[in-house]
């Protein structure tokens, strides 16, 4: 999707606040915890990301990171019907539930440890590309969710790793768990940017087979 999330190479953002902390406000920590502790049933990682990138672009670029997560958590649960817009605005449940059990710090640690998720899948299709192959990425933006950034669209690179098949993000954003071969593709800076800082520098991206063609 050609949306505000596709920031790689975009200009005029100015200097990086290199000494910024992990959080500026207590609400940021609380939102981080809320996102991890309260999942909306059926939401895939890619639907979470895709939903986030459909925020109004001016808002996406203006508000702090965890404010986006807050809006997204609400949006995802309004979409499923789990919350209403009014509940989100008022913070009051139409139908209160039984209080949830308290998770101790140890419980939280156990939960956190369980969050590692294996996205690899066995598929019955041989990989189209191998180490060292030259490839070219799709030139035109893909409808819906995609993890091919525009700065690397239509560019030539080289396969430097094959990771087997992984759940395909574009499909995952539609609730479809089909998988495609995943590769790391290395691009020379000069093949991405007309004004590269140094032509020998490279950028590596993890890209699924449907984004790639032989070059």
């Amino acid at each position: 999707m050609d949306g505000p999330q596709d920031l790689g190479g975009k200009e005029s953002f100015g200097p990086i606040e290199v000494n910024s902390p992990d959080y500026r406000h207590d609400w940021e920590r609380r939102q981080w915890a809320l996102t991890k502790l309260v999942a909306t049933p059926g939401v895939t990682i890619d639907w979470f990301r895709h939903a986030l990138e459909t925020m109004p672009p001016a808002v996406y670029l203006s508000v702090p990171y965890f404010q986006k997560w807050n809006a997204n958590n609400m949006a995802l649960a309004i979409d499923t019907g789990d919350y209403t817009l009014e509940e989100c605005v008022t913070g009051k449940a139409i139908q209160p539930g039984t209080p949830a059990p308290v998770l101790t710090v140890d419980d939280c640690e156990t939960l956190q440890r369980s969050l590692h998720t294996d996205f690899s899948r066995a598929i019955n299709v041989a990989p189209a590309f191998h180490f060292g192959d030259h490839v070219q990425t799709d030139a035109r933006p893909t409808p819906g969710h995609s993890r091919l950034p525009s700065y690397a669209s239509g560019a030539k690179g080289q396969i430097i790793a094959h990771h087997g098949a992984h759940v395909f993000a574009d499909a995952g954003a539609k609730g479809d768990h089909s998988a495609h071969h995943l590769y790391t593709v290395e691009f020379r800076a000069s093949d991405l940017w007309a004004d590269a800082e140094c032509p020998d520098d490279t950028v590596c991206l993890d890209l699924w087979e449907p984004y790639l063609a032989s070059a």
């Binding site: 920590r29 817009l85 140094c198």
Partner: protein
């Protein structure tokens, strides 16, 4: 179940933008009250999750992994070959570590990690990401002008060192292994872990101070 419908979720986001207060603290408070009242989470669990990240999960985990690799060649190989498995030795597996990939700095290469499309990060190994890592400026610039970005962090690469930027576009997460500083021969893993910083494991720092 989610609708998986782009137009629908766009409209919900616009509605939320129109109706929610502009102060994010109020928005988070509203969401917290709502989910507590619905019985989806207890307020104390939120406090405890925050404590977990404040006390137990942070860059010291990544430092411990790298210090061991520096002092244990067999572990180093395992870390390079399958970091997702190797970190399980420490019980450090968790959020976004399954497909961790460790990439080593050398005298010829400097590695830098970014996620241009969102802000993916190996949380379970490095804790919460710094605000700059999640900023539009870092996401936009790291891939295009890594040297200018490094300069803002005070890093000037020696001649002949090329940059290799890793944009975390899929579910692989990257951990930079900095070069082990000269003068640390014979140090214990604990001593070494103490000098390994968060930024050196993201790649916005190159030389470790000893």
């Amino acid at each position: 179940m989610p609708s998986f419908d782009t137009k629908k979720i766009e409209q919900i986001h616009r509605d939320l933008h129109t109706h929610l207060p502009s102060d994010p603290a109020l928005r988070v408070k509203a969401l917290e009250s709502l989910v507590v009242e619905k019985g989806l989470v207890a307020q104390e669990s939120i406090d405890n999750w925050i404590e977990l990240y404040a006390e137990r999960i942070g860059p010291k985990r990544g430092a411990e992994v790298i210090a061991r690799a520096w002092t244990d060649p067999a572990y180093y190989d395992r870390l390079i070959n399958d970091a997702g498995q190797a970190v399980k030795d420490f019980g450090f597996e968790g959020h976004a570590t399954e497909h961790t990939k460790a990439v080593q700095n050398t005298s010829q290469t400097h590695n830098l990690v970014v996620c241009t499309l969102c802000s993916c990060y190996p949380f379970s190994l490095l804790g919460m990401s710094p605000i700059w890592y999640r900023s539009a400026a870092y996401r936009a610039r790291a891939v295009k002008e890594p040297r200018a970005v490094l300069a803002e962090f005070g890093v000037t690469l020696p001649d002949g060192v090329k940059t290799r930027v890793w944009d975390s576009t899929a579910e692989l997460r990257y951990l930079v292994i900095p070069e082990r500083p000269k003068g640390t021969e014979g140090w214990s893993a604990d001593q070494l872990a103490a000098i390994i910083t968060r930024d050196s494991m993201i790649g916005t720092q190159r030389e470790l101070a000893i």
